[in-house]
Amino acid sequence: MSRKQFVHPYIPNSEPAVKKQMLEAIGMESVEEIYKGIPEHLRFKGTMELPEPIVSEYRCQRHVEGLLAKNKNAKENICFLGGGTWNHYVPSVVDTIMERDEFLTCYVGEAYTDHGKFQALFESSSMLADLTGFEACNTPTYDWANAIAIACRMAERMTGRKEILVAGNMDPDRLLVVRNYCKPEMTVTKVGYNKETGCMDLEDLRRKLSADTASVYFENPIYVGALEVNAAEICRLAHEAGATAMVGVDPTSLGILEAPAVYGADYAVGDLQPLGLHMSYGAGLGGFICTKDEKEFLGEYPSLLFGVCKTQQDGEYGFGEVYYERTSYASREKGKDFIGTTTALHGIAAAVYMALMGPQGFQELGEGILKRVAYVKEELVKIPGISLPVTGCSYCDFMVDFNKTGKTVKEINRALLEYDIIGGKDMSREFPEYGQSALYSVTEVHTKEDLQALFGALKAICV
């Protein structure tokens, strides 16, 4: 197909008469005269080997929909995966705002022309800070893992210390991100945990805390499906050693779980995805970092921070960049780490979600999830061969032990697909000490019938 046969709807000036007029205006015969600025030997002489274009939008839609139809999804199946991306309800109001071309297609404009973007992100930070109990929060990072990593380096700069202690029960993928980001400035050392409770081993923490410890990082809820009952004690021990304390949270849990600032954390980090972002094969991520509003903390953020500023119009909320000199945009290699395009739109989605939910919504969401999880756990252990390897209360995520069924998690999950169920995450690679165990996740989207379908299927498969 020759491109001369049509004017692409996205390239208006390829219309031959228009193109000719423009070339005439600049005194050129062809675009090649512009490309003469590129030395001949640096020019690409071949043809890119790409499929023939699907120029009809409709046909292209059909093509992509055909590919997406090959994916099993959580609308037609009951999905029990969580552990970093969760299957929560996304209110239509959030989708409506996310689809607004004003927010969707804006970029780095100042508050004079993008006032709404600044206010929405300011409100997003404000509400995240309400949930975590702090007074400062950044504009979004790439994801939770990136938020931990950045906060580790913030702690390193603030304390002058070079070691981070991380809970050995944290998500190993998040840890891989942290390890790479902390190189070469810091060492990252794991602290042991109790396999039965899932909680941090405080004796091991005491042993490892030292004058080199910049921060202690733990998760609450814990990745392996428990709550960190010693959260306050971990923070206290960290402070006693002159270190800071950092907790990774699921923000949706904070309607019922204590605010990290209250139990002594210096940094609360986590992901925006559960706050109104679809799972989208991991595309919903966006991280946040909350701290105290003190210069020693705020001055170490590499992220953009949006703050209120007066304008010529009395009573108008103006906005601007707070302490911009910190950033690498302003100071290149002398700035704090680096900053760039991250996940701002997800910050806006989270703002809409948090505003819709309010304190009541978060409380009811949290209570409902705790109940569903408790119910599922009670029912699952009735199935011969199935047990719970981690004791205590769980929020969304919990581990299920299949070792005594004689089947692998992989086999069970394959069999569950026959029942239109997407089973929990196989943990045998990440946490081999639990053997054939899976991380299941239950949220407010699961009905009693969904849960009973799981029990029925597992009974049929495992017994």
């Binding site: 197909m1 228009v18 994916n71 995966l81 109001v93 980001y181 680096f338 395009t341």
Partner: protein, 520 residues
Amino acid sequence: MAKVNVRKNFQQARWNEPMIYELSTPGLRGIIPPAVEDEIESRVGDVAAKLPESLKRKTAPGLPEVAQKQVLQHYIHLSQETMGANLTNDISEGTCTMKYNPRLCETLIGNPGFADIHPDQDEDTVQGMLKIYYDFEKVVKEVSGLDKFSLQPGGGNHAVYTAASVIRAYHEANGELEQRNEIITTIFSHPCDAACPATAGFKVITIWPDQNGMPDYEAIKAAANEHTAAIFMTNPEDIGIYNVHADKIVEAIHAVGGLCFYDQANANAFLGVARAKEAGFDMCHFNVHKTFGTPHGGEGPACGAFGVRKELAKFLPVPTVEYDGEKYYLDYDKPESIGKVRQYIGQSAVVLKAYTWSMMMGADGLRECAEISVLNNNYMLHLMEQIPGVSHAFQGNGIVRQEQIRYSFEELKEKYDIGSDDMNCRMGDYGIPWFWSSHHPWVIPEPMTLEPCESYTKEDIEEYAKVVEIVAGEAAENPGLLKNAPYHTGMHRRIQEEDLDNPEKWAVTWKAYKRKHGVK
């Protein structure tokens, strides 16, 4: 022919929107989560009450309490106070390639086959998504000529950081990391080309331009030595001048044992025209959200496609997406990998949209994007050169500009004390989004960087130039008008801007604002 329409009576929405907190009434809410069924309720009771006391929330979070219509209304108002590229003449944001973002892509990300798939699903259940990853990787391989890509980085800067991490791993594997602790970059390259290597532990050496605006080749040669880990350079740099020494620079760095990273944030004008491979680069990256038609989201979500020669592929983040002839799968088997830079396999919504866009373009369409972009830019220059008070970087050096140009209001500053910010504020009154001046330091005085990529019509370009002409004329006639602008956008001119740098006054949350400014 379409009419050139300067929006002389433009008025952006200005709702004087309160903070969401000021809309709060105790007892209201925007949504009700699904209730737990009676059977579950009666079986488990009040689980929250049984939580350990130390973990129970004692004071409810101070979130606003607002009904649904008012939440929707509030955020629609805020959106209307924001100039997205799909609704404005966004030639403004040079270096950012503000092209049209097709609505089709937004329809597709709402498909349950995408929106409702979990990233930890078994490979067998996400074959469609993995194919999209695999096939989009083929696109960027063709565009660059490089051998292997990771789509994991969440933006351009993140890809540059990934490059710095791979360079570190490469020299570490060769036992030379201690010796090779320097990275060379150029001042017109994006700040991340300095900041990311610094974050990864390298000392940064910055090269300034020669008299033609190109990175000083002799200075680069002089800086290259046994300590050089790599060079990070953009080409063209953010002023739109193609660096004719690109391959010679690569040779000079290779000659001392360093690697060469090509920041291709400005790739749009070179699709099918010039590639990283032919210039000899070892690595490159594309800002997928710029070059491949996906929306910028007010600074993300985004994707930085990071590519390497095959010798470096073993250091890429895990997993990569592979195909065994029957099915697509995730390959974690990379013992020398730098690990991960983001959770899961990247910003899959951006990848899905970019794949869709690329399928609609094909090789010819990509090439057409490039050609029309450089044509648009030179047409824009032709118009801008006729405006009194406007000049451009390295004017008159005889070099044809490519996809963008850094203009300067130096003359307006000298004559009328009107600089970039003043021009920017006033141009907003004509419906023009905030233009990109320059990263810091401003090497070019009072800069404005424009990139009229392929999405804009001839009339859009003419409108834009006309607005610059009108506002530059206003600067000469009535500088005060610009000093107090804008008048017709969502926000008036800031005062007491120093508060933003003052710990006693700054506030990045409502709670801090209330405390510091005595709001009840």
